[in-house]
Amino acid sequence: MNFANLSFDFGVGITLHTYLVLSAALFCIGLVAVLARRNAILVLVGIELMLSAANINFIAFWRFGAHPEEMVGVLFALFSIAVAAGEAAVGLALIILVYRHYKTINPSQFRSLNG
């Protein structure tokens, strides 16, 4: 049986919808981490997951869009990855700083920011 030529569609096949649903699910997993975990590092992990969901959207719209040869979606995702890396570095440095001061990384314990 020639596997590659076996053509079947799950109804409509893989459309842009499926990618958008995947990215929405990933975004909401990140949102759960940001809103429901009591740990600053996991909040940062959640933000990274949400940024990755945005990247999936950029690439999916690039792939399915009208002018893929313009590469706009890929370039946007590239810049987004760079900015996310910088954000992770600064955020983790801030977490270390706050941990040294408060001896905890539970965000609800960060009651005051001065001194």
Partner: protein, 172 residues
């Protein structure tokens, strides 16, 4: 883009992304969270390659798995309380349920808005057109200003991270 092999890899990869991402935000032990996060980023890189953006997939693996996940692991190992404390006040519980509820509401709203726009139900055009040469050319001609701005931003971010992390502990 409609061969069974593509379907198979699509579903396996998306399940892997979702499961590892869920694991990364739900483990109690932070080291397990960091490892699951690295796997989630790896699966995302594979997903980008599947979508036809090979270069971006490799950038994702280099930057996220190689740098961000390793950085997060370092911070997890530096900040000693690697396991979340088990005491739960009612305030924590309310906060957790509210957080999950808000996330589910956002997910439903996104789903409804995605499925109510029929113009999104398009199939991908055949033959991916990814070319690194075009990408590089655009990066240094049309997008040279954002490129420089990103470089400046990364420099400032690295300097800020070093300055933050090397500060002495302030006296209480």
């Amino acid at each position: 883009m409609n061969s069974p092999l593509f379907f198979l890899s699509y579903f396996v990869l998306s399940a892997l992304v979702l499961v590892t991402a869920m694991a990364a935000v739900s483990f109690r032990n932070l080291v397990h969270c960091g490892l699951s996060l690295a796997f989630a980023f790896l699966a995302l890189g594979a997903f980008y390659i599947l979508l036809g953006a090979e270069f971006l997939g490799f950038v994702q693996i280099l930057v996220y798995v190689g740098a961000v996940a390793v950085l997060i692991m370092f911070v997890i190992l530096l900040a000693k309380p690697g396991v979340e404390e088990r005491r739960w006040g009612w305030r924590d519980l309310v906060g957790r349920f509210a957080g999950v509820g808000v996330s589910l509401a956002v997910f439903l709203a996104l789903l409804i808005s995605v499925f109510r726009s029929p113009s999104l139900a398009v199939k991908a055009p055949e033959a991916p057109v990814f070319s690194i040469a075009v990408l590089g050319e655009k990066l240094v001609t049309e997008y040279v200003l954002p490129l420089q701005a990103t470089g400046l931003l990364l420099t400032v971010a690295v300097l800020a991270a070093v300055i933050f992390a090397s500060q002495e502990v302030t006296k209480k």
